[in-house]
Amino acid sequence: MTLHRFTFRAMAADNEVQVHSGGARLAEAAAARAIAEVKRIEAKYSRYLPESVVSRINGAAGEGPVGIDRETHGLLVFAGACHEQSAGAFDATSGVLRRAWCFESARVPGEAELAPLLALIGWARVELTENTVRLPERGMELDFGGFGKEYAVDRAALALRESGAESALVNLAGDLAIIGAQPDGSPWRVGLRHPRRDAMLLATLPVTSGGVATSGDYERFIEVDGVRHCHILDPRTGQSVRSFQSVTVHAGSCLVAGSAATIAMLKGEEEGLAWLGMLGLSHLCVRADGELVDRFAAG
């Protein structure tokens, strides 16, 4: 058994697949399948690609319903479950706020700017059927950003498993899925990046299966008058959330871990911790003041 590592670019990030395998060619074949799966999902759900499913749905906003396949339907049902369970904090139509929030320039949008965008947000207005989806108003947008990458992680993990891998890892820019303990029976050691110090590890987590995802305020942000405004935006106010520096969650799949982490960020520190406690998922959070909350159990 040798550990084979494969790095690749996708979703504007550096990603990695690691496979324990008896043969290099077996590992290569498994990794190739996983990487192809990530690229397929990127092409299908990227809002930057005009041919993508997301672009077609958004392009038809205010017009008729757009046909969707089972996979897309499943993802939208998942987005709906997140919306419902988070009492509206998670909203797959909140991407329109990006029109006001430009993280390249240090400027916080005003209420007048946000108001018309907030009017375009509302998961409840999305008309979803088994085979179609329709956005009722021109300008509304669906955004798979909150779960598309995590889904790709899970799909890549499944591709590895189906290729026969019993011990492997998929890491898409810090969101990952793990299948099986390492050959000696030990867990994988997942290093978490420190939310404030780039080159430093915050913690190393032992994981043998399932998904680990992190949501944080460090990925894209602007600082204005000493206040950090991160890319996680509250769909109800349009404002950047005041919350943890980072939330890392371990769940049965990366998709569930990612949505749990994002919703915890959206809920803010106290409510977020209560939410994670209620879910019963292992988690590790860094509060806004830098205090570490470690409720991570090996598994």
């Binding site: 099986g180 303990a181 029976g185 030990s186 867990p187 032992p206 043998t208 299966s209 090996a298 598994g299």
Partner: protein, 70 residues
């Protein structure tokens, strides 16, 4: 009671000599094919099949009850 002494000695040896397996190292041990009692329906069916023909019986549990097995 020679047997009991043997069993106890084996148990004591195990307690003393075995390395500790940490909870996170138990992924393989939790596999279904590692279970001591697999599918209960199968276990009962097989045990009965052989017990009806053989003089020996008994094993891993008590209070299971008997049968005429003619």
């Amino acid at each position: 009671m020679k047997l009991a002494a043997w069993a106890l000695a084996a148990a004591a040896l195990c307690l003393a000599a075995c390395t500790t397996v940490a909870p996170y190292q138990r992924g393989y041990l939790a596999r279904e094919d590692m279970a001591l009692d697999a599918n209960p329906g199968f276990a009962k069916a097989i045990e009965k099949t052989f017990a009806a023909k053989e003089a020996a019986s008994g094993g891993a549990s008590v209070g299971g009850g008997g049968c005429g097995c003619n």
